[in-house]
Amino acid sequence: MPAAERRSGRHPANLAQIAWALAAAGVAYALVAAGTTAFTRSANIVTAVPIVALAVLVVVRWPLRTRRLQLDPVEAPHPWRAWAALFGAVVAWELADYAARGSRADHPTLSSMLDAVDRYFVLKAFVFFLWLYLGAAIVRRGGRRQGRQRRRSRQAPTGAP
């Protein structure tokens, strides 16, 4: 039996259909959101809905206590170091541009660059969809280990010591 089917207990065709339906719903929602203007009530509502949804999903799906993810130190001696360094460089440059004297055009921050992108409907829809996708990935990844632990406990024989 394929791994995806074993994990979910659903047929792979159904899983694919669900994934496509969610992706289509996300695209449709992003297109609606791209039609709103910042600082308006409609923009507040379309942004607040995913935020509230994520908060509910996190409470429902994530375990109360977590176990930190550990990778094999032989296979991956420093798995996080490069990402942490890159994140630090991005934050440092963002702060340097933010604090620099002069116009925002001379010292663009990530926000100002994305503001420029958001002037185009399709690009704004794309950025909004990426934000939704990241939210869905956060919920999925945070609940993944809980799912594994539940499955293990379900698969364990009842008379086992």
């Binding site: 709103t36 910042a38 923009a43 990402w83 055009a105 001379d106 939210g135 945070g142």
Partner: protein
Amino acid sequence: MSSAVSYAIWALLGLATVLLWARSRAAGPSPARPAVVLERLATGPILRVVLVLGWMWVGWHLFAR
């Protein structure tokens, strides 16, 4: 400092992200894949709170304010 320098550094940081992403998919000792990094953040007791609040703030800041 002109805006060209600032944009150039942003472009370099973007390029570094793409290269790191590609490197993470290579065989042998390599940085963790982005999905694994996300899982590490989402399973840390404090980091997962920061991650969720950060995602919420980014959305509100970019699209609603």
